[in-house]
Structures are given as C-alpha cells and as structure tokens.
C-alpha cells in the first residue's frame, strides 16, 4: 500500500518547509515555504482519505481555500511593507525590536 511512502514524503516535505521558514530572510520565500508545509499536510490528508473515507479529500478543499485567502492577504501585507521600507528582508523590518 502507498500509505507509508506517502506519509514519509509528507514528513520530509513538511520538514523542508519548516527549515525554509527558519533559514531564509526573504519574506516572500518564507511565504512560499508556508505553502510547501500546507501541501505536505494535504498529501497526508489524501493518503489517509484512501483508507479512512472521503472526509480527508474534503478537508483538502478547505486547506486550499484557506491557502488562497492567506496568499491574497499576505501578499497584500508584503506589498504594503515594501512600500514603507523598500525591503522585504526580515532583518530590516524590526519596528517591534526594542
């Protein structure tokens, strides 16, 4: 069965997403890494849906809708930040730092 390989690939992809968020400083790349994590979770949902019924596939719909909403709002926020500070490097966006 494909459940174990799917969960393996999903775990590795999720870890890659987390590593990207931890390692990069460019806000847009960090955002793409979040999408990578969402996709890894989608793979888990689909793999388990094959065994546990269609509910997992339905949940992938909702994850996709949330990802689309998040991308729209997040990229708008990045646009607004860039307009104020002329950079997307998170090192230079330190307004809250004391």
């Amino acid at each position: 069965m494909l459940l174990a390989p799917a969960l393996f690939v999903s775990a590795v992809l999720f870890t890659l997403g987390v590593a990207g968020v931890l390692l990069r400083r460019n806000a847009i790349v960090i955002f793409m890494c979040v999408e990578l994590m969402l996709n890894a979770v989608n793979l888990t949902f689909v793999a388990l849906a094959q065994q546990l019924g269609v509910g997992g596939q339905i949940f992938v719909f909702f994850v996709m809708a949330v990802a689309a909403a998040e991308a729209a709002v997040g990229l708008a926020i990045l646009l607004a930040i860039y307009r104020h500070r002329q950079t997307l490097n998170l090192q230079n966006i330190n307004l809250l730092k004391g």
């Binding site: 069965m1 494909l2 390989p5 799917a6 969960l7 393996f8 690939v9 775990a11 590795v12 992809l13 999720f14 870890t15 890659l16 997403g17 987390v18 590593a19 990207g20 931890l22 390692l23 990069r24 400083r25 460019n26 847009i28 790349v29 793409m32 999408e35 990578l36 996709n39 989608n42 793979l43 689909v46 793999a47 094959q50 065994q51 546990l52 019924g53 269609v54 596939q57 339905i58 992938v60 719909f61 909702f62 996709m64 809708a65 949330v66 990802a67 689309a68 909403a69 998040e70 991308a71 729209a72 709002v73 990229l75 708008a76 990045l78 646009l79 607004a80 860039y82 307009r83 997307l88």
Partner: protein
C-alpha cells in the same frame, strides 16, 4: 515493488528534491518555479492515491493561481535579482537545521502508528466509491450535505480575504 510504488517513489523523490531546491535557491523567482515543480509532483502523487479530482484542483488552484500571484508580486516589487544570499549565517543555519532535523525525527516516528482497525475501510474504498458515483460526485456529495456549513463559512472567509487584500494593497481608500 509494483509499478505503482515505483512511480510513487519517483514523483515523491522529485517533490522532495525540488522542495529542497526551492528553499535553497538565492533568486526568489527560481524558488517559486521549483515550488511549482513540487506542486506538479504532488498532483501526480494525488492521482496515485485515488484523488484525481484533488489533483486537477491542485494544478488549477495552486500551480495555476496561487503561484502566479507569487510570481506577480515578485516581479512587481522587482526583487528577482538578489545580490547576495538571504540564508542566515552560521549560527542561524546550525540552529535551523538542528530544529528541523529534530522535527523530522518526530514526524517519521509518527509514520509507524497505523490508524485504528475499527476506523479503516476496505483498502480500495476510495477507488470503489469513485467507480460507483463518479470521481467528482464522490467528493462533491458529502461536500454539499455533511460539510455544507463549513463550505458556506469558507465563502465568507474568501470574501473577507478579498476585502482585506484590497484595503491593504490600495494606496489610499
């Protein structure tokens, strides 16, 4: 190893490799394009896991719409040519790799937990439901009956995101 398993590992390896390239490329455009490759490989995995309709949605919505939005913003802000790498220095790199390695060990340990037997359907339950009702109907029927309320709430969420994006991105209202 049946042919299905071999194809699965091929596309799984492609997804992991392009995901690795996505988080290590210096140029954000290259990162985005490698992420698109990952999304296509994941769509292939979805087909192998009896989720053809989800695979089509993955290509249409993720690779087609969301990634175009990303590339559009990257090119709008003209950050495509990064002068130097934005990956953190030695300390940040070490801590990040350590933490994500720890997470990977924990996630791979989870892989050995099988679902409880009273939950498991027959092995080909999804394939059989798709053969009986059609691929789209097998997903759509529960979506519009059991999961109707979450579905409607999702439409409100999308409307809120739409209004929020316009408010945030507009220079002055």
């Amino acid at each position: 190893m049946t042919p299905t398993v071999i194809v699965f590992w091929a596309f799984g390896g492609l997804a992991v490799w392009s995901g690795y390239l996505c988080i290590t490329r210096r140029n954000p455009v290259a990162s985005a394009l490698w992420l698109v490759v990952t999304l296509f490989a994941l769509a292939a995995l979805f087909v192998l896991l009896d989720a053809q309709f989800i695979a089509v949605l993955q290509v249409l919505v993720y690779a087609g719409a969301i990634m175009v939005l990303f590339l559009f913003v990257i090119m709008l802000l003209n950050i495509g040519r990064a002068a130097r790498s934005d990956i953190k220095g030695a300390w940040g790199l070490g801590v990040g790799v350590l933490l994500s390695g720890l997470l990977m060990v924990q996630l791979l340990a989870l892989r050995f937990g099988a679902p409880p037997p009273q939950l498991a359907l027959p092995a080909d339950a999804m394939a059989r439901a798709a053969a009986e009702q059609g691929m789209v109907a097998a997903v759509a029927r529960p979506l519009f009956s059991t999961y109707l309320v979450p579905f409607e709430i999702t439409s409100v969420l999308l409307l809120a995101a739409l209004v929020g994006a316009v408010v945030l991105a507009k220079r002055r209202l």
